[in-house]
């Protein structure tokens, strides 16, 4: 009788803890995805600004290269964080895949721009690529 009453009293507490854990898990996943997207937007934004200043003759090549290298590090870190997430629901999984895809496209754009800068190639196409990557990241972030 005593055991039963203890169990009855414990169920609501356990349920509250479980619900809180699930909710915090959901919140943590969506927060992590939003943070990763924002980090991606920031990295792509600084890359775009550096390329724009370089095209205007204001930023020297080593500075532009360093901004792009730092952006690559930022995007790689954000991608790793997203890949390591374990979504609890199908919608979270979809959101994670969207953010991961957007980060990968952004990484491709920044890496490509950096390679073109190093090779002295044409830089005119890269701002548009970066703008598109930024738009995708903003959309993925919701």
């Amino acid at each position: 009788m005593r055991v039963q009453s203890v169990c009855v009293r414990k169920i609501p507490g356990f349920a509250i803890v479980l619900t809180a854990a699930l909710l915090s898990g959901c919140a943590a996943t969506s927060d992590t995805l939003r943070d990763a997207s924002e980090a991606g937007v920031s990295a792509v934004g600084s890359s775009s600004l550096a390329l724009e200043l370089h095209a205007d003759g204001q930023a020297l090549t080593p500075l532009t290269d360093t901004v792009l290298a730092d952006a690559i590090t930022e995007l790689t870190d954000a991608s790793l964080t997203v890949v390591e997430l374990t979504p609890a629901t199908a919608s979270e999984e979809q959101q994670r895949d969207d953010v991961e895809q957007a980060l990968r496209e952004a990484l491709d754009a920044v890496t490509g721009a950096r390679a073109a800068l190093a090779q002295g190639g044409a830089m005119s196409d890269w701002p548009a690529e970066l703008d598109a990557a930024r738009a995708d990241l903003e959309e993925a972030a919701g």
């Binding site: 920031s42 200043l53 930023a59 020297l60 500075l63 901004v67």
Partner: protein, 409 residues
């Protein structure tokens, strides 16, 4: 005329030497994420560092002894050791951050990765500490550091909406995209950056190195109460440049290369050159100060012979401590840790250690045995007590805020 020149030089070096990598990075991060809404923290921090640096300098000038010597004597070895442990740990982290900062600046100019530059930067710091006179290293770094005024010039050239900047500063709010815990985490970090403990120990020991007496108290006050606030304005200019250019584009500063972009946008390659000179001088100067401070704190606590005014052979343990400190700082950096992350953690832990640094200074500056008639006045003590409350609150809140906000993520 000679005295006027000395006062001007002191003020200029105080301005140029005010900003180090902690101030620069933290202000840029805050500007890019919160606009000018944390400008009030810079003001609170500058008033605090003026208050306590003045006390520390006065103790040295009146008693003829540096702060750490008196702390151990007046408060006993245990309290002295707690003070020493906290200060030395923070100082070591700051030293690593400054050397890493020098390497990052050189990367911006050459495109060569920072790992190559770190050993060279540490070696350069050691050779200057070993060979140069105290006044030479202090004046050269401080004067060249004035190049950071380019941040203020950039703010004007960018033609911002001054009304909007003033509104952000005078009606501070937490942006919708940020959590309140993150806002307060950066408030504590900014406060820690402005009141870094090594600044007062260096200031106090520097007074002994330069042979200050009661007669120099006037110059000491001018240096502190004119130089430091102007240095604080420089900090606000760094935040403003980021708020004008980076915040509207949702670029949150995570690297030194991003801090540079607003200045380059405003003034192109010429402004960039000034900025590089300013950052190199500021970080190199701060690396010298933290290296010397590591020697000062340990040597003064243990009662060893210390000071740049002595030949290295006459202060061997003082110089050995500095070499060991540099090796440890370099070792930290060569693990591959991001110098910007070291900087961010150093300013937060600096806030944690603030009470251990500033409570003893307040006690000693009220002791007539050391200070004679130059003890603190009532107004200074009242302000000092208000600041002790602020310092304790910041120290207690720092770690919980770091955990809750995910270190400001």
């Amino acid at each position: 005329m000679k005295k006027l020149f000395a006062v001007a030089l002191g003020v200029l070096t105080a301005i140029g030497g005010f900003v180090d990598i902690g101030d620069l990075v933290t202000n840029a991060v805050v500007g890019s994420r919160f606009g000018m809404s944390l400008a009030w923290v810079v003001v609170v921090g500058v008033v605090g560092i003026c208050l306590f640096a003045n006390m520390s300098g006065r103790v040295a000038a009146v008693s003829g002894r540096a702060t750490f010597e008196i702390i151990r004597e007046r408060l006993g070895p245990r309290a002295g050791l707690a003070n020493l442990g906290a200060s030395f740990f923070i100082n070591l982290m700051t030293m690593a951050a400054e050397i890493g900062g020098i390497a990052l600046v050189l990367q911006l100019v050459t495109g060569i990765g920072p790992m190559l530059w770190m050993p060279l930067a540490a070696f350069a710091v050691w050779i200057v500490v070993w060979r140069a006179k105290f006044s030479q290293l202090e004046n050269a770094a401080g004067l060249l550091g004035l190049s950071l005024i380019v941040f203020a010039v950039a703010v004007v050239m960018l033609g911002p909406d001054w009304g909007e900047l003033a509104h952000q500063a005078f009606v501070p709010t937490v942006p919708a995209s940020e959590q309140p815990s993150t806002y307060w985490f950066y408030a504590v970090a900014l406060f820690g950056a402005a009141m870094t403990p090594y600044e007062v120990f260096f200031f106090s020991s520097g007074a002994i190195e330069e042979g200050w007496t009661r007669k120099d108290l006037g110059q000491e006050r001018v240096n502190v109460f004119v130089g430091f606030p102007l240095g604080g304005l420089l900090s606000l200019a760094i935040a403003a440049s980021a708020a004008i250019v980076l915040l509207p584009q949702a670029i949150a500063v995570t690297s030194l290369s991003q801090v540079v972009l607003p200045v380059v946008q405003a003034g192109g390659t010429i402004a960039f050159c000034f900025l590089i000179v300013g950052m190199l001088a500021a970080f190199f100067g701060a690396a010298l100060e933290t290296t010397l401070s590591s020697g000062y704190t340990i040597a003064q606590y243990f009662g060893w012979s210390w000071g740049k005014f002595r030949r290295p052979a006459k202060a061997a343990r003082f110089h050995l401590v500095m070499i060991v400190g540099l090796v440890i700082a370099l070792g930290i950096l060569l693990t591959g840790v991001d110098p910007i992350a070291v900087t961010e953690y150093s300013v937060v832990f600096s806030a944690v250690a603030l009470p251990l640094t500033y409570i003893p200074i307040l006690i000693i500056s009220n002791d007539p045995d050391y200070m004679g008639t130059e003890v603190n006045g009532r107004a200074v003590n009242a302000l000092g007590l208000v600041y002790l409350v602020v310092i304790v609150v910041a120290a207690v809140a720092a770690i919980p805020l770091m955990i809750i906000s995910g270190a400001g993520a």
